[in-house]
Symmetry: C2
């Protein structure tokens, strides 16, 4: 049941009933693994595309001496590299962060669906390009932002991505990762991540308890993060994402209300050099 994926893709294209049915069909072979297991290892020859159904995973790479960088987070609805087949072998690993359920989609199944459903093709393109944009933003994040800004930025991104697949509730969302993992993702140490989170807490920027993140004042957090959601390329083709997207959770619970806007800032100009 790739509900999350469908929900996410509909931010970009309107899918027909047939499109959705076709997407449903992709999640045949479902696998489950515990936390902290590898799904694909660097050097492996990828055989299928993985679709995250439940739980979190990450893409990571480890240097010869053990230092590890988490390159991206995968949350439900995320597709790991729809097009890896072109390359011979993986240049990074993908591992679970929490217990995980995911679908292994065979290459042919994916090709079959995209052949017959141009809207899905377009939507997967969008997903691919957004993934690339996120990767670029991470480069900026790690390269230029201070620890505080960096953590804030990461949390903004994760919150929005989760909200897009219906996993937020009001200003809260799950954050089922350890501080060590946040450290590996931001290029900081776990000690400093801790300091930084404390600082954010005492500034009232976040509430973080029992793996749940709450953002009392989104505008404030965005501000310290220098966050601009444009790179996520939401609001497209009619599926206009309201600042405060109505949350129809699958189980029908009522979402908390949030007056704060997650603005998609106007285009900055900025001349190069001078």
């Amino acid at each position: 049941m790739p509900q999350r994926l469908i929900r996410k893709l509909e931010h970009f294209v309107r899918l027909s009933g047939g499109d959705k049915l076709a997407l449903q069909g992709l999640a045949q072979k479902v696998r489950a693994v515990g936390a902290h297991e590898d799904i694909i290892r660097e050097g492996d020859n990828p055989l299928h595309v993985n679709l995250i159904l439940e739980g979190w995973a990450c893409r990571y790479k480890q240097l010869a001496d053990g230092r590890r960088q988490i390159i991206s987070f995968f949350v439900p609805g995320d597709l790991c590299d729809p097009h890896v087949f072109v390359l011979r072998q993986m240049d990074h690993s993908i591992g679970s962060l929490t217990p995980l359920r995911f679908a292994q989609i065979p290459r042919e199944a994916l090709l079959g669906v995209t052949d017959r459903h141009p809207r899905i093709t377009r939507a997967l393109w969008w997903e691919t390009l957004v993934t690339a944009a996120v990767q670029r933003e991470w480069t900026v994040n790690i390269g230029q932002r201070s620890a505080l800004e960096r953590m804030a930025h990461l949390l903004c991104e994760l919150f929005i991505r989760l909200r897009c697949v219906g996993l937020s509730e009001g200003n809260s969302c799950p954050l089922p990762v350890t501080q060590t993992e946040l450290a590996d993702a931001t290029g900081l140490t776990s000690v400093h991540v801790n300091r930084t989170l404390q600082e954010m807490r005492s500034a009232g920027l976040i509430v973080l308890r029992s793996k749940t993140l709450t953002i009392p004042d989104p505008a404030a957090l965005q501000k310290v993060a220098l966050f601009d959601a444009d790179y996520l390329h939401l609001e497209h083709e009619g599926a206009h994402l309201d600042a405060n997207e109505p949350e129809e959770l699958p189980n029908g619970s009522t979402p908390g209300t949030s007056g704060a806007a997650w603005t998609h800032g106007g285009g900055g100009s900025g001349t190069q050099h001078g």
Copy 2:
């Protein structure tokens, strides 16, 4: 004359005469700009794909307060985002670093060629995926490596990429960027880039004079960089890249010889956590 692009793509697929001709046809509208000019600005609606013919450019993003991160370098033969059309607007800018000649390829021209030439489609896929892999490696580089390792890694990457398009000569290649630009790319300050380069020089790792980089002992540089070329996904489909690729420069000059190997290391294993 997209010779560089063709040469690069042939590292992955064997192109027929017809394929090459089709690629030639893409570079109709050629533009030239001086150094430090923007080609595309963040927020723009991209109208064509740009193919770098001569000179260097970069993708960059600037924070509200002026900090700038160079997200990737473009060298001759590089294609800027073959698939941007799917998205509505640019989330970053592309600017020249040196005087630049580039071809503006209209969307339709590209689509026409890929429709009729499946090998080109495959090759462009490869190019796209390698670009993504490079982006991921930059995340690792900035997130985990020390200044020295980081600079070394960047130089290794640039050298290999230039060699792939026939722009190296023996162990040397052009490096027409300022230390400030290297700083923006590595997330360091120009002062510290200077220190780092000095250190590399006095360790005999590099020779860098008048915008020309020479790597006396590639193995040594790779070692301090913890560099593993796997992520560039060379050596594919028969087009076996020898460790010391024969350099048939277009102008027929004889390349310097280099016994040193730019090894494509065997698959590391590495269990997650333990």
